[in-house]
């Protein structure tokens, strides 16, 4: 028994050591500064950035998860850098969908100072007066934004937003296992890859693919066209292995699935792990923009504008683009990127290649609801067994309740009878 105790002690000590490891290691890791060899980077404008020093200003930043460089792989820890430079504290929290962010904003629970909505959501927020016009004098780095990103469809007067990242939806496939190149969206409906196809989990992206296949506008409000798209998705369902978002990475990397639509920037992250993967971008694919906006109830508009400006410092934007791997609209930042990224036609294509791409616009409330209904219908379609499981389950529950209550009553009567006997 004594040696058992010894083992226990050793185990406990080992655990303590393992837990303490990171503490020993953290000082050893020197903060690696990225040096863009030979490329000139303008210095920060100290005078501009020190306006709020010592004034205890805090801003609430609300961003997508994993959508800002936090100091991985020797890239910049952007929020820490901003705090050091300006003395403004950044409260950083995350959301997972445009709709989730919108709901949170609409509820009035919290006031945020900077948000990162996508194109169609921006037009909706403008319509509902939930974001405010920006003062571009406070965002001098706006000059770095490429011309093709000015006056976008979602913000035609360019009053409310500064572009953050953009990209296109592509079709990622495993060239080695499929054995040939892929040149069409139709392949997502190819029965050859049954059970090896992945599909978007969100309705907007999934419907966009079906509408592209049909050759319709991805923003159609025509019910007939939407019904046809839903029909296509229903046909596809038996072939689909799973409707996923982040699991796409793992499933594609480990050859569990062979073909999946996703965002082109993320394809490179997958390819790093699995070199057999290739991507194909359809001509009429969905192009998306995420931009920075300031909600109407922001308490620190100027500090928020400073933050937006900082994210457009070429060095900051370059590190951020390298971390996220989406395309940056900041032309100075693009110059600082590694050649292989900068010259990649998928990430930074020539203009004519974007001619036929389609951006989402905000749909009417009715259409949104209709699409969601159709989508629910698609996802719950093969659950025919539900038709009889539910009634059976309900009947079963009622029966159990009945039997139980009868038993209870009997018990009571028995007890009462017993008591009466005792009382006598």
């Amino acid at each position: 028994m004594i040696y058992k105790n010894k083992i226990k002690h050793i185990v406990v000590w080992a655990m303590v050591l393992i837990m303490a490891l990171p503490l020993f290691l953290s000082p050893m890791q020197a903060a690696a500064e990225t040096s863009h060899a030979g490329k000139k980077v303008p210095a920060y404008d100290q005078k501009y950035y020190s306006r709020f020093k010592g004034k205890d200003v805090e801003i609430n930043v609300y961003n997508w998860g994993e959508y800002l460089s936090t100091g991985e792989d020797g890239l910049m820890d952007i929020n820490a850098e901003f705090e050091k430079l300006t003395g403004i504290k950044v409260n950083y929290s995350n959301y997972e969908t445009n709709e989730g962010m919108y709901a949170k904003l609409k509820s009035g629970a919290n006031s945020y100072d900077v948000i990162f909505p996508s194109d169609y959501m921006i037009s909706r927020l403008i319509q509902e007066k939930m974001i405010q016009p920006l003062n571009y004098d406070n965002i001098p780095n706006f000059k770095y934004i490429g011309k093709e990103f000015l006056y976008p469809a979602y913000d035609p007067k360019n009053l409310y937003s500064v572009p953050y990242m953009w990209g296109r939806v592509c079709i990622i496939y495993n060239k080695k296992l499929i054995g040939h190149e892929i040149h069409s969206v139709d392949e997502l409906w190819n029965a050859k890859y049954a059970d090896k196809i992945l599909m978007f989990k969100n309705s907007r992206d999934a419907f966009a693919l079906a509408l592209e296949k049909l050759g319709y506008d991805i923003n159609t409000e025509n019910r007939k066209e939407l019904d046809q798209a839903a029909e296509l998705l229903k046909q596809q369902k038996p072939l689909v292995q799973a409707y996923v978002m982040d699991q796409i990475f793992d499933k594609m990397q480990r050859n569990e699935a062979l073909i999946a639509p996703y965002y082109i920037g993320d394809y490179y992250i997958m390819k790093e792990v699995n070199p057999d993967l290739e991507a194909f971008i359809p001509q009429n694919t969905n192009i998306y923009y995420d931009a920075m906006c300031i909600p109407s109830d922001s308490a620190h508009k100027e500090a928020a504008e400073m933050y937006i400006n900082f994210l457009n410092e070429p060095q900051v934007a370059a590190d951020n683009a390298a971390f996220i791997m989406y395309s940056s609209p900041n032309s100075e930042a693009v110059k600082l990127l590694d050649d292989e990224i900068r010259e990649d036609k998928n990430l930074y294509p020539p203009k004519e290649e974007l001619k036929n791409t389609q951006a989402f616009v905000n749909l009417s409330e009715e259409t949104n609801l209709y699409v969601d209904q159709l989508w629910t219908d698609v996802l719950s379609q093969d659950d025919a067994y539900l038709d009889w499981v539910m009634p059976v389950f309900v009947l079963f529950s009622v029966l159990v309740l009945l039997i139980n209550s009868i038993r209870k009553r009997r018990k009571k009567e028995m007890n009462n009878a017993g008591r009466r006997k005792n009382d006598k």
Binding site: L21, N60, S93, A109, N110, E272, V273
Partner: protein, 278 residues
């Protein structure tokens, strides 16, 4: 132990612990995929540099601890009160107690949000600036934790031999002393179980936290859920590893201490009922 019961237990434990083991293994993987390519500790190093992740961890732990402690005190008091109620009233209150457990979390979360938003607006008219944050998170967590404590403590109270309490009073205890020296000891395992359950539920909770969290802090679950558009960073694996080992260390220490106590008690040939919670 027959061979088949051994196999059964082995398979059962494998189901429980293999996923955690795999998660731990991959927190030492030097690429981001799920194929093991080499050993590294860089994720741990990065985790300790990632202010956002550490803040989320801190928030999660504080909210879990504070809400569990308060919920345990409230739940225990409520259980004792319930025990003394007359049957009709007790049935009503018990059914009310079940509601937070039966209610879908999303409804609980949304209704909390609406309640706090209303409170916020109402306080704003009186010139009080009320923000979502620690208070809203902890209040919501206390609310869904209390029923679990009540349900853990009530059975113990039913088992409690009332004559013990009466005996203590006969021997000169005032009611308070009797409660502290006898009742608490007898129901201790229920209280501890309720506390641990609250702690677990609070750490796990995503839906309610999502709707009641403020702009300054977020819990781990909210942070991880938000990563699902891109990809969950291996830092989270590292963090889970740290949490798992910390919990394991606590459990091992508690067990070792208990062993010692038991030995001491045996030597002192003292025996008292109601060991620690299992």
């Amino acid at each position: 132990m027959k061979w088949y019961s051994k196999t059964y237990i082995g398979v059962f434990l494998a189901f429980l612990y293999l996923p955690i083991m795999i998660l731990i293994i991959f927190s030492f993987n030097d690429t981001k995929g799920r194929t093991f390519t080499g050993f590294t500790i860089k994720w741990f190093v990065q985790l300790f540099h990632d202010a956002a992740a550490l803040d989320a961890l801190w928030t999660t732990i504080v909210v879990a601890l504070v809400s569990s402690v308060i919920a345990t005190v409230m739940g225990t008091a409520a259980a004792i009160g319930l025990e003394k109620m007359d049957t009709k009233l007790k049935a009503v209150v018990m059914n009310l107690t079940y509601i937070p457990i039966i209610n879908p979390e999303i409804i609980t979360g949304v209704s909390f949000m609406l309640l706090f938003v209303t409170a916020k607006k109402w306080l704003a008219t009186m010139g009080i600036d009320f923000q979502f944050g620690w208070a809203t998170l902890i209040l919501a967590h206390i609310t869904f934790n209390v029923p679990y404590v009540i349900l853990n403590v009530l059975p113990k109270l039913r088992q409690l031999d009332q004559s013990l309490v009466e005996a203590a009073m006969d021997l000169g205890c005032n009611p308070m002393q009797a409660f502290l020296k006898v009742t608490i000891h007898e129901i201790k395992s229920g209280i501890v179980a309720g506390f641990l359950m609250s702690l677990t539920f609070s750490m796990d909770d995503f839906v309610v936290s999502y709707f009641t969290t403020g702009a300054k802090h977020q819990t781990l679950s909210v942070m991880i859920y938000a990563m699902t558009k891109k990809r969950i960073s291996p830092e989270i694996n590292a963090l889970s590893t740290v949490i798992f080992i910390a919990v394991l260390a606590v459990l091992v220490t508690v067990n070792l201490l208990e062993r010692r106590n038991e030995k001491r008690l045996k030597q002192g040939s003292l025996k008292w009922k109601g060991g620690a919670a299992r």
